[in-house]
């Protein structure tokens, strides 16, 4: 128990990932949904870093860098879409985001 193995990190990561999934599936505020996605990405990152440590190999960390870059791109575009949507519909409720064009 006192020795922390990659298994511990995997469990932490899985739990965080599930929290993210719950957030995505349950919450209706799209900003929160975005944040839940960020949580999921972080969960993946934890896993990658943990295994990079375990395998004494930096490739996992390299992937984390890419994940962070993708997350930044996702946040920028996602929030841009959100703003564009908001100024037309004045809502951030994903249930009302059911049209492809407006």
């Amino acid at each position: 128990m006192l020795e922390i193995t990659p298994a511990h990190y995997t469990i932490l990561s899985a739990a965080l990932f599930s929290i993210g999934v719950i957030g995505v599936l349950v919450r209706r505020n799209i900003i929160i949904v975005f944040m839940a996605i960020e949580l999921m990405l972080n969960a993946v990152n934890i896993n990658l870093v943990a295994y990079a440590q375990q395998l004494q190999n930096l490739i996992g960390q390299v992937f984390v860098v890419f994940v962070i870059a993708v997350a930044a791109a996702e946040a920028a575009v996602g929030l841009g879409i959100l703003l564009a949507f908001y100024r037309n519909k004045e809502t951030v409720n994903i249930d009302e985001m059911n049209v492809m064009r407006w």
């Binding site: 100024r87 037309n88 064009r101």
Partner: protein, 373 residues
């Protein structure tokens, strides 16, 4: 998307109250600003927080008591208020004011202009963030106040003139001190210029901000430096000379672009011209009485008149109706330059940023005591 091409992102219009408690509304002016982001899209000016009914009060006071009330309007330029009022009543009474009194009045009015412009410069620069100028300008204003204190004993509300002349002759040695002050002031002006005139930030903040064309300025009834900043040659001292201004040689600085920077330059130049006038007046100060022949009981013949002078803020006019029977004016009306200039604020600020609002309030140089009366 094409069907709703109206301004889309107007959901964030923010209405903020600037004032009456705000550090840079120069008193208790209240602006209700409608903002789109930081840009002002609409503005409503609310005033009257220091409305003391000076006009109404004056209609129930006798002619001499009113001088004291005029001090309280533009309290940073009390002497010019006194001057305008006394001249108007003198015009109604058709009293001749002795030449010495007119000279001293001119000196007082120009000293007052320097004092008022010092206050304007300090607060205007402070609004834009240059706080050292404030302290420098107040340092010089203090000298003006000292001179007034020596002349009439008061530092803010002077009550320094009487109908028909002056209550006091100048104290001995006062003219020398005024000359010294002129030298000091002339030496200090380059300090202000050094801090502001060629300062890049100052230029960026003031140039092209609050531009108003000559035509609009005339139409809006702007007066004083805001009008001259747009290049309109209009100065009551030249157009309708009063006191002793027709005997002096001075120039009226004019702007070309009508922006905040031009108005700043004009007021700086007015410092110099005021110093020039004061020096001429001191050089040619005639001997003689300081009070004209005024009846003991002031009762002007029935009639009405409007008389304007150039206060530091602009055209300060008094419209007085006498019914020929009472010892008080039947109707006493002040044409406050700050009030009329403040009317030009809305066209100036709409479309500018919040930061420019304070800059523009500063540039039109209002005193709320005068706006509200």
């Amino acid at each position: 998307m094409a069907t709703q091409s109206a301004p889309i992102f107007d959901t964030d219009e923010l209405v903020i109250n600037m004032g009456p408690q705000h550090p840079s509304t120069h008193g208790v002016l209240r602006l209700v600003l409608k903002l789109d982001g930081e840009r002002v899209v609409d503005c409503d000016t609310v005033m009257g927080y220091v409305h003391r009914g000076i006009e109404k009060l004056s209609e129930n006071r006798d002619w001499t008591q009113i001088i004291l009330l005029t001090d309280r309007m533009d309290y940073v330029a009390a002497a010019t208020n006194n001057l305008g009022y006394c001249e108007t009543v003198e015009k109604l009474l058709e009293v001749e004011v002795p030449r010495r009194a007119r000279y001293i009045r001119t000196i007082l009015a120009e000293l007052q202009r320097i004092g008022s412009h010092c206050l304007w410069l300090g607060t205007h620069a402070m609004d834009i963030g240059a706080m050292t100028v404030l302290l420098y300008a107040f340092r010089e204003r203090e000298l003006v106040l000292d001179l007034f204190e020596e002349y009439c004993g008061a530092r803010l509300t002077y009550n320094s003139m009487r109908i028909g002349g002056l209550p006091l002759d100048i104290p001995s040695g006062w003219d020398r001190k005024v000359r010294e002050f002129c030298d000091v002031m002339e030496g200090k002006l380059p300090e202000y210029e050094e801090l502001l005139t060629n300062n890049r930030i100052w230029l960026e903040r003031t140039r092209g901000v609050g531009v108003i064309s000559a035509r609009d300025a005339i139409g809006l009834g702007l007066c004083g430096p805001p009008l001259r900043g747009s290049g309109v040659y209009r100065d009551v001292r030249k157009d309708e000379p009063y006191a002793a201004y027709d005997e002096f040689d001075f120039e009226i600085p004019l702007g070309t672009r009508g922006d905040t920077y031009d108005r700043y330059l004009i007021r700086l130049e007015e410092f110099r011209q005021s110093i020039r006038i004061i020096r001429q007046a001191l050089d040619g100060l005639p001997e003689g009485p300081i009070m004209g022949k005024v009846p003991r009981l002031l009762k002007p013949k029935a009639g009405e008149t409007y008389h304007a002078i150039e206060s530091p803020k602009g055209e300060l006019g008094y419209f007085i109706v006498s019914d020929g029977r009472a010892t008080n004016p039947y109707r006493f009306r002040v044409r406050p330059p700050s009030f009329c200039n403040l009317q030009g604020l809305k066209p100036l600020i709409v479309g500018h940023l919040v930061a420019d609002v304070v800059c523009l309030i500063g540039t039109i140089d209002i005193v709320l005591g005068e706006v509200d009366r």
